[in-house]
Amino acid sequence: MSIKSGYFKKHLHVDLTNGSAECRELPDTFIEKYIGGRGFGAKLVWDSLKEHDFKIDPLSPENLLVVAPGPLTGVYLPSSGKNSFAAISPATGLYGDSSMGGGFGVELRQTGIDVLSITGRAPELSLLFIDNGETTILPMPELRGKSCLEAEGIVKEKLGTHAVHVATIGVAGENMVKFACVNADWSRNAGRTGIGAVMGSKNLKAIAVRGHNDLPVYDVSGLVAESDKAYKYMEKHKFFRMWQQQGLMNVIDYANATGILPAYNFKDSVFARNDEVNGATMLDYYKIGDSACFSCSMCCGNICLVKNGRYTGTVIEGPEYETCAMLGPNLGIGDFAAILAASRLCDELGIDTISTGNIVGAVIEGYEKGVLSLSDLDGREITWGDEDAIMELIRKIGHRQGIGDILADGSRRIIEKWPEMDKLILQVKGLEQSAYDSRAGISMGLAYATSDIGAHHTRAWTIAKEMEEGQNWSDEEKVDIVIYHQKVRPLFDMLGVCRLPWIELGLSEWHYEKFYKYVTGKEASLEQLLELSNDVYDLTRLISTRLGISRKDDSLPYKVWANPPLTGPNAGKVINRDDFQRLLSLYYKKRGWDEDGIPPAGIEQKFED
């Protein structure tokens, strides 16, 4: 049975160099095979790589930026406000994508397109405005140097309406900081893999969208009935209220208790001042409101205000767990107000808080250990918890001043400049690690090592499960759960929905098979959808291997092998290299890749059309 609805079948391609916009038809085979979101991203990036003979500099005009919601984005089902940004990542040089919540993707779909791709380089700093199918490129040099939030305000003023959704980059994006992010709806970020730098390299400061088309849905009443069931299930879940109140901040207490919280650049995995930075503190002293993505009942976003002290008046949407952990405990900061201020600073500059937290943490430890000299730091000392020095360093990264100019090029460049930093900085393939300590569970290590975009938990997050019930797991079970996650989690990114209802509230993944059926009119079992998701994983692996990645790169940061956490439940634990290599071999075998991690030769044909 073929696809009957769910898509506009339109692909908008914009070339910023000559200012042209072209609306292409999407063939049925394309939408059936790649579904949407990250699937479209991977396929279009693959095609453009083939066109350029696999030689694309991430910051060149040729790098294709893909903005893709999915077929389920914006329709009535739990947390349907997601949207993927994909390109060749400046951080890793490989395929990179990052997804964003909020309402930008919904509005983009309502303009009547399924996917937007952008290439070229505008002669001047510009705004791309898609107004219900009509595309204009407006030069807006006045946006130079403006923060993400300021830029959003200026764009809305220029367009004379508040009813647009705007994705912007900050100063960091303009300066092509390799972990710059894209910010939309004031504080929703596509944070990872440096998509903001790709926009900056194209002289594209902002994308504004406004649309009012009906989203195509095959069977509305079927969808509503199924979604009502799903919403009801979520509402009855014992943790639902807690999620509404604390959002992802509840993970701080959990991570601290189980010993996976990064503290002092992953030297430790518990934090003594946990009580001052956890969700309860946020609720009692800082939180002033909730924020949710489109059509989401969980509203995991928090809005916080600092009411007294030196950061008085700081408003921020967030923080969530990663931001709080990476900018707080990981840098030795135990003052929640300072974390909020640092987070706001990152939002304004438009840099990824996870990468920033890792890099600043590594710099502090590097200085402590004598790897970095005072002159490397431009004469400004920095220690754990030194808020002023940390803020200054973050600012320097965004503006590429002094040492910030090197740090802004990401961990690869840092290691090239100071080879000893390799032992201190936690990164895989050039992407800095998320805030879950993999030394507590080897499956999480395998997940980081084999994630297609680098050390991020978006592809597989197995640590909680392994700690809870995986003490006696066999190798096979560990590999299986990583592969299963790497099928399911990217599927959510392809469908254009959030995975939190599934991973956190246990909303069954079988619902999504029905959602897909009601929206597209095509019957596909969950297994078939997972198979498609798996194909996209093969495709991103193919991209990586064609760009030179092999087994040697599927590794873990030095600390994971050599430096155990000092205290806490996982004190003394490291990942054994032999254990890891054994798991990796098994992982390749199960995926059908060879011993070196290369997918089989004939697989390219699969992605021809």
């Binding site: 009535y76 009012h212 009906d214 509305v220 919403y231 509404q244 609720l283 909730d290 989401c296 009942s297």
Partner: protein, 176 residues
């Protein structure tokens, strides 16, 4: 007589109210076709406020209607679809901007209270939209206003010898 009221402090801005309204009245997944819209301002001030018809007792929309197409039926403003000329004067006249226009629809979009059982109230996951007796209007604002002047965040009490704490932030969540 019950009124549809908004508690902006509870609103998360998820826009489910818009979506369910559009699905109920037009059968489409298009939040722009709803008779309710969530306005969001950030960061100064931070407000999430659903805008929906207040069922004013002195309806400005009806006063400006040149063909008398807006009338109160059983306490709810109803649009006479036959006679409406789509001049949209009501849209401009509403002090709250609670009447909407969509280019696919000829008629202005105005809340009809779903015949007394509003879909948005049923589906709001945060209890930010409520159907309450007229006399109870303003209750939540009064409470919030008073709380904003106090330093107390919680009350302590003993139940069967066990110490318990209720945060004021949680008291709004019970059914009214």
């Amino acid at each position: 007589m019950k009124r549809l009221t908004v508690i902006p402090e509870q609103c998360s801005g998820c826009k489910m109210c818009e979506l369910v309204c559009a699905i109920k009245h037009f059968g489409v997944n298009n939040a722009k076709k709803a008779a309710i819209r969530v306005m969001i301002t950030y960061p100064h001030p931070v407000v999430r406020m659903p805008i929906v018809c207040s069922q004013c007792k002195v309806p400005m929309c009806a006063q400006v209607c040149p063909v008398d197409a807006l009338r109160r039926v059983d306490g709810v403003m109803q649009l006479d679809k036959e006679n409406c000329t789509s001049c949209y004067q009501c849209v401009e006249a509403c002090p709250f901007g609670a009447i909407y226009v969509h280019e696919d629809c000829d008629l202005p979009i105005i809340c009809d209270m779903c015949g007394g059982d509003p879909e948005c109230v049923k589906k709001c996951p945060k209890g930010a939209l409520r159907l309450i007796p007229e006399a109870a209007l303003g209750e939540s604002r009064r409470l919030n206003n008073v709380l904003s002047y106090t330093q107390m965040k919680q009350i302590e009490f003993y139940e069967k010898g066990e110490r318990k704490i209720i945060h004021y932030a949680e008291t709004g969540k019970e059914e009214l």
